[in-house]
């Protein structure tokens, strides 16, 4: 192992050692503030290291990892998101009676798992990353175990994730059986020497797609999404929606491009069907929801569909669009769940539509931020979501996948309805205060994080050229 190899995997080391450090620190004394500080500090250190570490643009640690621009960008994105979630978690868990400290270990480990996914070029780190992520998530989802729906969510996720891992393992085994390799590139090379895909390979790919589909929560593997989103504590919900899905999307893109998936019609057709189904099912199910967490869960299914449109379009523009949309989607999702966190009190989460009635007149700034987030999800100009959607449509038009582009447009129109419905409810007259009205305590750090996310949202929406330049410089060095 060369020196450069070691330097490259330092980001993984930092996370691992942070988890161990927190473990020891809890053994000495439980202190929420200290643990929170360690988490924030180590994530920050990791981000800074990733940003300033010098070295070749692309470096592979044979045979497991590849540190290229795409991987580094998404790794960084995951770390920044995890940092934002840590900020939001503090106030949320501080209000609750349960022991809070172990949560941060799980958060860091889950981040490590998702990060590993973004840089793996081999089935072994892929599976390891996936399992680290899933196992941490099982306990994170059920973390507030006295609450009624959290163990339901946890167990549901446990069973489904275990199930999908099994599928994935079987798929990998089939691929390994045919190609004799677990490295993505070697698989691609082997396949390109064949005239057509052997049946057993199609089965293998199929099983892997099933596994990935479960993780992404795309139709028809979406059944867990709404229940898990609803049952999990809010910061965890937004972790699942962003970091966990983002890691898997990155992995999918890398795997698919390296095995040259674009040249196999059967794969492209499969994904097209899945994507169209995701967009329609997600949007239609979101239309009638009365619970904002469930609504955002279904909307996230649709958004994964949008991201995959750019993924199917492929090419440099498609990959750029995926990266850009991930950023926009992360800001927006963390922001909107952050606002829910901000409005929750110690008894329950702010999740019913009634909790938002008249919010504009009670808390104008919060409501304005939330409207901005929702408009971004809907893809309205001045927000990051608009530029992201524009990017995806551009990639789609450039890739000549007109069917998907039209479906995307139709779905954006459907999606509008439920986003503006929330805004309309926030504009309504204020409801009479009852015993169930939320009385959140105000934490400066949450307010600050939400404000920062809103500013980022608008900044990327109005001046996207900086982010585009960054993505381009990393993706096409």
């Amino acid at each position: 192992m060369s020196k450069q190899d070691l330097v490259s995997i330092v980001p993984l080391f930092i996370l691992t050692s942070a988890a161990i450090l927190i473990l020891f620190s809890i053994a000495v004394k439980r202190n929420h503030k200290v643990i929170y500080g360690i988490t924030t500090f180590s994530l920050l250190a990791d981000i800074i290291f990733l940003a300033i570490a010098e070295g070749p643009v692309t470096w592979t640690v044979e045979p497991l990892f590849v540190f290229d621009g795409f991987g580094k960008f998404n790794f960084g994105l995951i770390l920044v998101t995890a940092l934002a979630l840590t900020m939001l978690s503090y106030a949320y868990f501080e209000q609750r009676e349960e022991r809070k400290e172990e949560y941060y270990i799980l958060l860091i480990l889950a981040t490590l798992g998702a990060g590993t996914l973004t840089i793996s070029k081999h089935f072994i780190p892929l599976f390891l990353g996936l399992e680290i992520l899933s196992v941490s998530l099982y306990s994170m989802i059920a973390y507030l175990r006295t609450r009624e729906r959290s163990d339901e969510g946890g167990i549901k996720y446990l069973i489904i994730a275990a199930f999908s891992s099994a599928f994935m393992l079987f798929g990998m085994a089939l691929i390994y059986y045919t190609t004799g390799s677990m490295e993505f590139e070697a698989i691609g090379q082997y396949l390109s020497s064949l005239p057509e895909l052997p049946i057993i390979m199609i089965a293998g790919f199929g099983f892997v797609v099933v596994g990935i589909g479960f993780k992404l929560g795309i139709v028809p593997f979406h059944m867990w999404t709404a229940d898990v989103y609803e049952g999990a504590p809010l910061p965890v919900t937004s972790f699942i929606a962003t970091v966990s899905k983002g890691g898997v999307v990155t992995l999918l893109v890398r795997f698919y491009t390296q095995v040259n998936g674009y040249q196999y019609d059967s794969l492209v057709v499969t994904f097209t069907v899945l994507v169209i189904a995701s967009m329609f099912v997600g949007n239609f199910l979101a239309l009638r929801q009365q619970n904002v967490k469930r609504l955002l869960a279904y909307s996230s299914i649709a958004h994964l569909g949008y991201i995959l449109v750019a993924f199917i379009a492929g090419g440099p523009l498609g990959i750029e669009a995926v990266s850009f949309y991930l950023v926009a989607y992360f800001i927006t999702t963390v922001g909107s769940f952050g606002i829910l966190t901000y409005l929750s009190d110690k008894d329950r989460d702010a999740e019913l539509l009634d909790d938002f009635r008249g919010l504009f007149w009670r808390r104008p700034w919060t409501a304005t931020s939330f409207s901005a987030m929702l408009l971004s999800l809907a893809g309205i100009p001045l927000t990051a979501g608009f530029v992201g959607k524009f990017y995806i449509v551009a990639a789609g038009v450039n890739g000549n996948i007109w069917l998907l582009v039209i479906m995307l447009v139709v779905n954006s129109a459907i999606g509008l309805f439920y986003y503006i419905r929330i805004i309309a409810i926030m504009c309504e007259k204020q409801a009479v205060e009852t015993s169930s009205t939320l009385k959140p305590s105000v934490y400066l750090i949450s307010g600050f994080s939400v404000a920062a996310l809103t500013v980022a949202l608008l900044w990327v929406g109005v001046f996207p050229e900086g982010l585009i330049a960054l993505i381009r410089s990393l993706l096409n060095p």
């Binding site: 408009l375 309205i380 100009p381 001045l382 608009f386 524009f390 449509v393 551009a394 038009v397 450039n398 582009v405 039209i406 447009v409 139709v410 954006s412 129109a413 509008l416 309805f417 503006i420 419905r421 309309a424 504009c427 996207p464 050229e465 585009i468 330049a469 381009r472």
Partner: protein, 512 residues
Amino acid sequence: MILPGFIVLLMMGGILAWIASQKSLVLTRWISLLTVALNFLGALVVWLRQPETSSSWLLDYSIPWIPQFGISFHLALDGLSLLMLLLTFFLGSISVLISWKEIQNRVGLYHFCLLWVLAGITGVFLAMDLFLFFFFWEVMLIPMFFLIIIWGHENSRYAAFKFFIFTQASGLLMLVAILGLYFVNGNQTGIYTFDYFQLLSANLPSDIAMWLMLGFLAAFAVKLPVVPFHTWLPDAHSQAPTAGSLILAGLLLKTGAYGLLRFVVPLFRDQAIAIAPWAMAIGVFGIIYGAILAFSQTDLKRLVAYTSVSHMGFIMLGVFSFNELATQGVVMQMITHGISTGALFILAGFIYERIHTRDITRMGGFWKSMPFLGTCGLVFAMASLGLPGLGNFVAEFLTLVGAWQATHTLTIIATLGLVAATIYSLRILQKVFYGTQAPSTVLVDLSFRERLVMIVLVVSILWLGLFPQPMLNTSQPAVKAIIEASDHSRASAYKPPTQPKLVIKRKGGSYE
């Protein structure tokens, strides 16, 4: 610098008005009035001292915005845009004035939304970069949505949703078409740009161009609205607050007409000619259909909304006649309809403030108690039916004369629309101002502020009817350029402002 200045001033004014509402509501109202008035003065100055240029473009402003995609912040002004800006700021000032008493809650937010709608509309009329155009096209929707939903009438939520989803969905189709144009042009020339002037010379394969044009047409047809896509309009117009209705009818519909003239005709010349018979037929159908529906309404604002559908049919008819007379008529129609229909909505708002209903069956005999309001009602009902001497007559006459050169049958049917307009306009007068008054109501005639608004509107519609020439002169170079772009080789006439223009004299078609 003055072009971005218009937009920035409105946006800043909106924020300032919102902040000021913490201190004093009167201050908020004055700030927004002054902001719009200042813009109006600015546009007036540009109009009176028209810069000397050799092309049809008067002013131009461009800085790069997202260079990676070839997107620039490119604004430009020609006669058509200038007239539209004057209309925007004129009606904008009026809309602040009529909200003075009507809006009593959340005044700061209201004026913020109002000014941002105006900023979006201004951007639409100036943007010469297709991405920027789309950007502004969408920016004007959100504040309008809030205007309808927060300050609207009893069923405002339904109306606001319908308005937003209709316009947004059609806008997305336009986005796809814009991107299609961008990539087709980029693949051919190697220059990927959203710049309007460069895309004008794009050489499109005809089958693709047809689809792209339909994408643009979808957005403009919904906004205009063309008949099968008009159903959002009666709801939105009748549920919006008075100023909202005024802006919807006076300005938002005009962005659709403007889009047709600025983008569909010059960019997709052959395809526009190919669908012209259909488009004109739909326009004529809209004239008759809108008039019949207007006649059968009992809700005053809904009635006026359907007259808009009818009047906008003339725009479809005129735009797709492809000659200078008809196109000048369209431009006049955009201005006069904005003023006359806007005035009718304001009158409906004044009546609503007094008797709290829009139901015509509960009105009657208002002339006796409110002679001033009645007189104004008479003037604008006459304008709406196209009485000579008032602006609408000039517009519809020019459109019909121009359309006659393109199609005889359709023009004859469209002329029947004027008869229908007479019927519904007289019905308004008869039901609202004549007849017997319900004895219990005590009505106060217009206040000084209301009279001022009405007098200004009456004077301007008279002026447009008696002396339309200044308007026509201003729009003529732009209209000519648009027609020539769709008539001859497009590159020759419709050039960006920095390049010298090759003037092509046409035989006939001059009415000066």
